[in-house]
Symmetry: C2
Subunit: 577 residues, 2 copies
């Protein structure tokens, strides 16, 4: 038999839940054994969840993680397991993978490349590893590396596959999602496979963790770049496939570049023999996972929002959520996402009309609630509003109505949602989109008040696309047509429209992308074809509203650069550029 | 003449304000020239302010910074200037110092050690430098390095002073403050000076930037470890001193370790000759700064709070602040700090009693306001409270009074303060202390609502110490005795006391320090002599309230580990340990 059975456990773990994660890992090891799997891999830092952040600075947390790895070791009779954990040695911490076999710790691989950009802070915790060994199970040779390691051409992947002659490179990852990353990441893997004539087995984490969603999409790429199997996105899966070693070796014979590469190396590879003779199981019933198709852009983003919401709510111990329904498209989309994530019985809408609310603000919310099958509570805010105006009348003598009164309405609504949250234990979902969050078109402690900001990284134009997609996908009107068609408005003063204060969203959103995601200067954005006055106003609003964003709830990253730890700007910042 | 005149410009710059910072730098160069200074140094990243964070990712921002350095170059006729800026080369960014002399760019030194822990993220932006040259001005030889570089024994300081024979090491820093750091930092500098028989000229930034305060305390340490001159803390200063080169060389002859060290080096130092012959000015009137004394702990922390508040308010374009005065010690201390920072005419107090407020809550606030000379506005909150209870009565049918009603009161107060802020352009200062923030004994969108949290890193026991100190220092009752003596209470339900929910602060604070600042596990804290039940409850509260802290306003770091970017914890975190 020249076939080895490999499985990738694309699992959803919980940060800090070492016991719970251990249990899940042991369950997957049992399932893999039942399927006759030879080598089973888990994602990066499986045992701690990713990213564990400053938990890694707690000595007890590291000890507990290492203990858990020892528990896993005991469960590896007759199977090889690769599992991610924080490894401590000589006062240094490493982002590591334990290679376990037959109740023995065979080796510890330590990540070479530590990402320290975007949402990543790995240099804060870890030291880089240097070794790039390969492991031999009879004729089968494989290398292990971790996430970022495979994003760079060259070592450790090159060393493992060229000098070490590994037929398979197992890369364990916790690679967070953003739109357009999924396909490009796989293309990178295809390139690596072809370059080194090696099978790449990429095992990714799945699940939501605060602002991040890990999308899964684990994949095994054949040595000629063909996709052998691919796991689904945004769900747990045990991805299983059989690798024919002889076929890999045959491909290599045709690879002329390989000999040249081999010569360039001075040093020999470090080979760790796990088992000398044919080490894997002989009898296997046919089991093979399929190549799950990628989602469309809209479905992919929706899936990310649904999983991110579901996991934030459940991992933080909540069951039900409450949403202020304004009759607008943002709150409608958030409610639809929440229903998909948590079930209609766990979503409550509250409509809080004021004297400036259009008739549609209530009737459209009613229609939406009926379509979604959720409870709707109605609480008009006039009484509280009037009492504030009355209480403040002395202090505000001789002043004019301005944004103060608009914000008061938003804050009364925030208070009502938080009161419901406190009284019933519901988590408040906020409904602000990325366009609003960028320019500060939102009220701090008002509509920004809540535990989780589902669409805070979704530009308004994408809010429309996602809403249309939901209706299309479901084949019926979930988000009422009247909501889709009304011009956006905050309804905080008579006949107010978003376009009173902002350019139309199809103009605003590209400017915001250029400035926030692509770091273009104002002058460079003007050169794209916008007026200087408009660009300066927009980038000024972005700069001046950092203070608001800093106090907003976390929300799901779906773009290449989200607000939050992905974009770290000073609040006190005099630069305008 | 064997005397060289060195000056350290301990200046307060503004992040992102390249034009403004440039102007200030040019002004200091003129002053230094007037004083016959030979070598003038400015702090780390002077031109951008520190930390510029993700502004460093904007290509235009780097270009603008480099242009400003070129402007400075033109102003260096007859003087040598060392100034910090972000240097770009071959696609990499460096935390650098320009060495300028007589309108020429002599060299660029690049920081070796990039801090990437605590509040620091320098690996996110910069690549490490490798060179450690020295500069020669006739007989005078000096080395330049940057902040973290001198915190490690060895190179670059060793190389520069031993092999390069530099008599003076100029270290330019932006070293943020926390209590107890000031003296220990200087002790480290003294150690370096003695180890290498070199004069250490440490130029530190001063000023507040979001959560950080840079304390100044620039110092010149003689080659035998004696303090030659020391700048004051928390204020701008041009620190000037004359260094006698012969005296340094004499000390070195007595340094036996030096020869041994020199032998260990294989490579020669890189020597850059700025000017071959005696290069510095001959005629100098006697000018020498003094050795300013350190502050006491209380005075030092108060100074940090005052400067941090003053700079946050003014650098963000505000003039006046508003504070909710509860009659408690926290708001009293914040008001006193604000008055010292901004002047009494720029501080407004608002007293917002409810039916649960003690009589003292108003009268003590009145007394405080009179003592401080600030305006006090009174707005009872009963009307708004009753209207909420009325609006929510249907929804809350058959429920009991609980924390919901308490939070409502706090949120009404938050709304009133924000309304005043919106109407009059006042910044709201919040009054929560570190003990409360740690355990979540505060209301999100309520007493946490505001722009700047002055004492968020000050433990309650220190709040008392600081308040007592103010009265002592001023020699009169600023914070009324009745406020100092009443037992802490949130006054959100009848006869409520903090001790109903929390242990006494003199027990709570050490537990919090052990857990939050020292990363001790619960078991290790119990071993310090607290009951397991209490410790588990306290650390559980800390863990579970990360979500609140994440939405709080920034505040001044005064301890070794503050909440904020100094302590990066996941919100979704199942670890209890």
């Amino acid at each position: 038999m020249d076939t080895v059975r490999i499985a990738l456990a694309q699992i959803n773990v919980r940060v800090g839940d070492i016991r719970g994660n251990l249990k899940k890992i042991l369950r997957y090891i049992r399932s893999a054994k039942d399927l006759g799997v030879d080598v089973l891999a888990f994602p990066e830092l499986t045992i701690t969840g990713y990213p564990p952040e400053d938990l890694l600075l707690k000595p007890k947390f590291i000890q507990d993680s290492v203990h858990a790895i020892d528990e896993i070791r005991k469960a590896t009779a007759g199977i090889t397991v690769v599992v991610g954990y924080p490894d401590q040695d000589n006062g240094h911490l490493y982002n590591a993978a334990a290679i376990l076999h037959n109740k023995e710790l065979i080796d510890v691989y330590r990540k070479h490349y530590l990402p320290n950009y975007g949402v990543f802070d790995e240099e804060r915790y870890f030291k880089s590893g240097q070794r790039a060994p390969v492991y031999r199970l009879g004729k089968f040779i494989f290398g292990v590396n971790i996430c970022e390691d495979i994003w760079y051409p060259g070592d450790p992947t090159r060393k493992q596959s060229i000098v070490g002659d590994a037929q398979v490179i197992i890369n364990i990852s916790s690679s967070p999602y953003y739109s357009s990353k999924v396909a490009s990441r796989e293309q990178m893997l295809v390139k690596r496979a072809k370059t080194y004539s090696a099978v790449i087995a990429f095992c990714n984490l799945v699940g939501g963790q605060d602002e991040l969603v890990f999308d899964g999409h684990s994949v095994v790429v054949g040595e000629r770049g063909e996709i052998l199997v691919r796991a689904g996105g945004f769900k747990e899966e045990l991805l299983v496939t059989d690798i024919n070693i002889k076929s890999v070796l045959r491909s290599r014979k045709q690879d002329l570049k390989r000999k040249k590469d081999l010569k360039e190396y001075k040093k020999r590879a470090e080979v760790i023999v796990i088992k000398d003779r044919k080490a894997w199981r002989h009898e296997k019933s046919a089991v093979k996972s399929k190549v799950t198709e990628f989602f469309s852009v809209e479905e992919e983003i929706l899936n990310a929002l649904v999983l991110g919401t579901k996991d934030y709510v459940s991992k933080n111990g909540f069951k039900k959520v409450v949403i202020g329904l304004s009759g607008g498209i943002d709150s409608a989309l958030v409610a639809a996402v929440a229903v998909q994530a948590l079930g209609k019985q766990n979503v409550v809408g509250i409509s809080m009309p004021s004297k400036f609310s259009s008739r549609g603000s209530v009737t459209d919310s009613e229609k939406l609630s009926v379509n979604l099958g959720i409870e709707l509570i109605k609480i008009p805010i006039a009484k509280a509003y009037n009492s504030y105006i009355n209480m403040l009348s002395d202090t505000f003598t001789d002043t004019k109505e301005d944004i103060t009164e608009e914000n008061l309405q938003a804050r009364i609504r925030g208070n009502i949602l938080m009161a419901a949250s406190n009284k019933f234990g519901w988590l408040v979902l906020t409904t602000g989109n990325k366009s609003e969050m960028s320019v500060g078109y939102c009220t701090i402690y008002g509509d920004m008040a809540g535990g989780f900001a589902v669409i805070k990284d979704v530009p308004k134009t994408m809010v429309f696309r996602l809403s249309l997609f939901i209706n299309e996908y479901k084949g019926k009107e979930i988000i009422p047509k009247s909501i889709l068609e009304k011009p956006p408005s905050a309804e905080l003063r008579p006949d107010q429209l978003d376009t009173d204060s902002l350019p139309p969203y199809d103009i605003l959103d590209p400017i915001l992308k250029a400035y926030v995601e692509d770091d273009l200067s104002a002058a460079e954005i003007v050169a794209l074809g916008y007026t200087e006055r408009l660009v300066k106003r927009v980038v000024g609003m972005v700069d001046q509203n950092e203070y608001k964003r800093r106090q907003g709830p976390p929300g799901i990253k779906i773009t290449a650069r989200a607000f939050g730890k992905d974009r770290r700007f000073p609040i006190t910042n005099l630069y305008r550029g």
